[in-house]
């Protein structure tokens, strides 16, 4: 597994309110709530599907992409 394969969505702790919507929607249980904020605890399981990013009402989650030929 290359380092990129464990890349996970980035969560902005300042924007995250800890509502838990992303934790609930994640199909592989890669996210959890810790100290009132969402964190990625199983980056290796993350499929990068973007459900968490789509759902987050506060725009706190973002997936970074590399554009390649």
């Amino acid at each position: 597994m290359s380092p990129g394969d464990t890349m996970a969505p980035e969560i902005d702790r300042e924007l995250c309110t800890g509502c838990g919507d992303c934790v609930a929607v994640c199909p592989v249980g890669a996210l959890t709530l810790e100290h009132g904020h969402a964190v990625v605890v199983h980056a290796e399981d993350c499929q990068y599907c973007g459900d968490c990013e789509e759902l987050c009402p506060y725009g706190a989650i973002a997936r970074a992409f590399e554009i390649v030929l």
């Binding site: 990129g4 394969d5 980035e10 973002a62 970074a64 992409f65 590399e66 554009i67 390649v68 030929l69």
Partner: protein
């Protein structure tokens, strides 16, 4: 200014296109005029509409440039890292800051106020050449942006962005979030997400986890009206 600090300040200033034509003497004068300011994470550097804060160069950390819409929504315009600069328009025309700036991480900036900048311009004509070249390049970029916004759909602009950003071989690609793509294209993240999914369904690109792979360059070029 201590010699070591002056050297590091001059090294930083060399990364700013305005200063590329300056000799050591002139660059030293600019470095001595640049005031060091430190900001904690989340600290506001300046606000949009306030009196010009000067030309700001990021030495360390990360700076977020943003605008706040009437309904209070924050739109991130750009994130800047070491060696990048901002607020160059206000320092030249004397108008208010066009954007707000905040330290996204603990940051160190070098700031040259407008008065100092104008005095340096009078003294070092090579500085004026650097600024004129930079403004001309910006005018060219804005013309291209006007063309994009008036003639191209979001989908066409996104196709153009993908083609511009895509790298192959050993080149290391820049990472971009959909929010950053949206900010660059003058749209919102949701629209970028939909357009990317459309491209995928049409076989123009393929998502491979965190990679967007360009599959059909020609079709993207047609889509981009290039």
């Amino acid at each position: 200014m201590e010699a070591e600090k002056l050297d590091s300040s001059m090294e930083l200033l060399r990364s700013v296109p305005y200063f590329v034509h300056l000799d050591e003497v002139a660059l030293g004068a600019v470095a001595r005029a640049a005031i060091e300011r430190r900001y904690g994470k989340g600290e506001v550097i300046f606000l949009e509409g306030d009196r010009c804060a000067g030309l700001c160069i990021v030495e360390k950390g990360r700076v977020k440039l943003f605008k706040v819409s009437r309904d209070g929504r924050e739109q991130v315009v750009k994130m800047l890292g070491p060696g990048e600069f901002f607020n160059e328009v206000a320092v030249l025309d004397g108008g208010p800051n066009p954007l707000s700036a905040m330290a996204a991480l603990g940051s160190v900036l070098r700031i040259i106020d407008r008065g100092t900048m104008l005095a340096l311009l009078t003294r070092y004509p090579a500085l004026a050449v650097g600024i004129i070249e930079n403004l001309a390049a910006r005018a060219r970029h804005l013309l291209s942006l006007v063309e994009d916004l008036s003639l191209r759909t979001v989908s066409a602009r996104l196709a153009k962005l993908l083609l511009t950003e895509a790298v192959g071989g050993d080149e290391s690609p820049r990472r971009m979030t959909q929010q950053e793509m949206a900010a660059q294209l003058g749209t919102v993240r949701e629209t970028v997400g939909r357009a990317l999914r459309d491209f995928e369904e049409e076989g123009l690109i393929r998502f491979d986890r965190h990679r967007i792979i360009v599959l059909d360059r020609e079709a993207l070029e047609t889509r981009a009206m290039m």
